[in-house]
Amino acid sequence: MAKTITTSREFDRHDLSDDQLRAMLRNMLLQRQLDNRGFQLNRQGKIPFALGSEGHEAAQAGAAMAFQRGKDVLSPYYRDLGLVLGVGYTPLEMLESMFARTSDRSLGRQFPNHYTNRSIGVLSFSSIIAAHCTHAVGVAYAFVYRGETGRAVLCSTGEGATSEGEWHEAVNFASVHALPIVFFVENNEWAISTPQSQQMAIRNVADKAASYGIPGTVCNGFDPISTYAAVKAALDRARTGGGPSIVEAKVYRFLSHSTDDDDRTYRSREIIEERRKDDPVPRFERVLADAGIVDEATLRTMRAEVLRETNEATDTAEAAPLPNAETLYQNVYEGPYEPWL
């Protein structure tokens, strides 16, 4: 059975400094701002598609804080805005991708939220759910292969992704070789319109760890500190030769799956409203305010800053040029490529 990390009623900062706690909050505010921006731009007809992580902010901010920049590698999925921001992705990169500009790292090829940034250790992935998990395992193998101790991979998916055979194969391979990797599962109870009960016959994804002889931990994904603690422990374990583990963060998807979805077809407004009461963003603002780590002024500044950053990124990205048609033929293979026309 998976271990559950409970969130204590009293404020427990673990080993997090004030700066780190504020950085997590800032990450969460930035996520929400960028999410809003995406949906806004979509409504304005400026971008054809957007996707939000509302409800996942705390889990992602917490997990990202456990990541060691310059050492670890992140293998995210499309809902991981807060994870990539937390490891060094910029709002501008997000907006460039939303607008599909030349400056986008995929050169306007991928959907928004399909991150890649080798320079900060963020793996490229496709839309094919769970296909990136074995890649993450390959990276972890490379660390061991080259004797690079102290490095780990953080591989993230939704709970739905754990139904894919490839997820199973990834975790199994990692466990046979005791690789330095953490499988981080953001369980938001839904895969588009499919509830968890139609996805699996268990409550805790972390219980799947039993198949692999590795630890499974459940944490409160509405609490960044709980998530940080769980992911930090798992990453530390991985970095010191303890092998892989699964960390499940209990979150909720407040929005529709994407701008292409309308969740009113499959879940009631009442449920969403009820769940919104635990909204992790105001919750963590309160926690830090109560602990005296932020005050109203700091909060105001933070909010203003993330708005300004988002605005600037929007303006810059919007003004940037679209990729030329000829770029369609680039980077099919290394070197020049002449497609048969």
Binding site: P48, F49, A100, R101, D104, S106, L107, G108, R109, Q110, F111, P112, H114, S126, S127, I128, I129, A130, A131, G160, A161, S163, E164, G165, E166, A191, I192, S193, T194, Q198, Q199, M200, D260, D261, T265, Y266, L322, P323, N324, A325, E326, T327, L328, Y329, V332, P339, W340, L341
Partner: protein, 333 residues
């Protein structure tokens, strides 16, 4: 093909829906399974309301796992049910490749008919809808080489309803491809009530004398537009809708060529190794001396995918202008 008297105007989504609905009503061995086909009614709302009407045993929201969507359906089919499995987007069919190619297509053969696999796999494919790298792909050429499978890609509401009905009744596995860009943009008259269109027959959608164009999917409609444009210029183009990719209708193509003596093949899928390759090779084998000009293929460029950015999508998709131009050139050859 029994056609009744009250045709209805439908788009392609409605035609798919009608065929599915009627089959569910008609045959209680029929069931639908896939991701989000239940309460959500599929991401294109094709099965909207089916869950309420037919219940969760027959409209199954599956776990997110394509190999099992097809594999479980194969088992149902072996046991006498008539499952219709949906792959949410064609781009996500790859994890089910083993079940389709290694299993479904070989069930009858490997057991010499002891078991059969009457299974339909439906999936939306194709681009031009800002689906970016992973929601735009054409997959027909990845499967058309596989004996034991049938592959359909009809483009009009009437063909879709008749062929999907035939596919559901077919005793062998059928991959049924629906071009996303035609879903709501293409409308047409659909005969009311039950009818089927035989699998394996192409359809001459426009009669002409100077050039034969073979196409399917979204491109078919563009090719018809282009041919109509050329008509105004006094040029006569015959447009054949392939409809069935495997089996392929040699006769209709070869008959047309006897008249026109020139062939243009148009498909959105990449050129190298695409459907056009087999059509061309077949024609050269069967009717080399009927040809007055080299066969030409106008296809999607040989790159992994169309991009999300508009210019990249536009560069990938074949414009109606380019089609018209290629037609003119070949007629003038």
């Amino acid at each position: 093909m029994a056609v009744t008297t009250k045709p209805q105007l439908m788009n392609n989504v409605e035609a798919v829906r009608a065929a599915l609905h009627d089959a569910l009503v008609r045959d209680d061995r029929v069931l639908i399974m896939g991701e989000d086909v239940g309460a959500r009614g599929n991401v294109f709302l094709i099965t909207k309301g089916f869950l309420d009407e037919f219940g969760p045993k027959r409209i199954i929201d599956t776990p997110l796992a394509e190999a099992s969507i097809v594999g479980v359906a194969v088992g149902m089919a072996m046991e006498g049910l008539r499952p219709i499995a949906e792959i949410q987007f064609a781009d996500f069919i790859y994890p089910a490749f083993n079940q389709i190619v290694g299993e479904a297509a070989k069930t009858r053969y490997r057991s010499n008919g002891d078991y059969t696999c009457p299974l339909v796999i439906r999936t939306p494919y194709g681009g031009g809808v800002r689906g970016a790298l992973s929601h735009s792909v054409s997959i027909e050429a990845l499967f058309y080489h596989v004996p034991g499978l049938k592959i359909l890609a009809p483009s009009t509401p009437a063909d879709i309803k008749g062929l999907l009905t035939a596919a559901i009744e077919d005793p062998d596995p059928v991959l049924f491809l629906e071009h996303k860009k035609t879903y709501r943009s293409v409308k047409g008259e659909v005969p009311d009530g039950y009818y089927t269109i035989p699998i394996g027959k192409a359809d001459v959608k426009k009669i002409g004398s100077q050039l034969t164009v073979v196409s399917y999917g979204y491109n078919l409609h563009q090719a018809l537009d282009a041919a109509n444009r050329l008509q105004a210029e006094g040029l006569s183009v015959e447009v054949i809708d392939l409809r069935s990719i495997r089996p392929m209708d040699r006769t209709t193509i070869l008959e047309s060529l006897k008249k026109t003596r020139k062939l243009l093949i148009i498909h959105e899928d990449n050129k190298f190794g695409g459907i056009g390759a087999e059509i061309s090779a077949m024609v050269v084998e069967e009717a080399f001396f009927d040809l007055d000009a080299p066969i030409r293929r106008l296809c999607g460029p040989d790159v992994p995918a169309m991009g999300y950015a508009h210019p990249l999508e536009e560069e990938f998709m074949i414009s109606t202008d380019r089609m018209a131009q290629a037609m003119r050139e070949l007629i003038a050859f």
